[in-house]
């Protein structure tokens, strides 16, 4: 494998350009401002809407970071990184979701 073939290949951490970081920064800033905006204008919407919109904005911003900063994408070079991340996300879903479910139900039954 020659060097030139892997120009800007980042030891398994993905292909990088300045443009990636600038676009990622602008999108992340946009989502940040949107999130803060939801809170600033929370009185004009039902609370559940704000909660959902904030969560979605956070999730989308995390994807922005993962794609533009961490270069996680659908390429075969990134495949194992993505698989390991997806598995961890599943664990997190079980731990956090399960905790919320159990504690909420417990609280309900003890009232």
């Amino acid at each position: 494998m020659s060097q030139s073939h892997h120009e800007n290949e980042n030891m398994g951490a993905g292909h990088i350009t300045k443009k990636n970081y600038i676009i990622g920064f602008l999108l992340a800033t946009l989502f940040t401002i949107i999130s803060f905006g939801f809170v600033a204008f929370k009185d004009s919407m039902p609370r559940s809407a704000v909660v959902i919109l904030l969560s979605v904005a956070a999730l989308l911003q995390m994807f922005v970071h993962l794609y533009y900063f961490l270069h996680l994408n659908k390429s075969s070079e990134q495949r194992w990184n993505v698989i390991v991340f997806a598995f961890t996300a599943l664990l997190v879903f079980i731990f956090v979701g399960g905790t919320i479910w159990v504690m909420y139900t417990l609280n309900l039954r003890m009232m």
Binding site: M11, G12, I16, T32, V39, F69, L70
Partner: protein, 205 residues
Amino acid sequence: MNTTEIKNREEAEVIAAEHAHHAELNTFGFWIYLMSDLVIFSVLFATFVVLGKNYAGGPGPKELFHLPYLFIETMFLLLSSVTFGFSMVAMHEHNKKAVITGLIITGLLGLGFIGMELYEFYELIAAGHGPDKSGFLSAFFTLVATHGAHVSFGLLWLIVMIIQLVKQGLSDGVRSRLVRLSLFWHFLDIVWVGVFTFIYLMGMV
């Protein structure tokens, strides 16, 4: 090329490929560590969800958190991710000076973030709202301080890398360590997105 030259060339290519493979494995191994770190943060988040409304008759997020302050803090960290990214681009262009400059700016921005966080903690504790005062505050301080501790270790690592860069330039070891530090740094910004959204902003709703 004669037979010996061909053989030497092939060996050099094999060695280069092995080094590249080894570096990739190091990167992947570090990524797996970051995933375990993600699990740790997620259970701290879960703890906050469970305890986050227990104010023990004391103040809650609406009384204690300041949005403009939080926004500036967030931008410090976000910008530092970008400047680190620029360092990595410079690394691939073999521009040692630009790498060092980028890392120094990243470090200063990270220091700004930590400084603001420490000041926030100081103010809270001085006003009698320390981590021992309520379930909400315990969970808040634990999660946010764990993140802050990670960033602080990252800053230390940054300093070490700058020193190594000055002393040995963009050697193979320095490059692969910088790649891992970059993963670490970006990961912490992702965790912060979760922190400022679900701990701070959600509490203000």
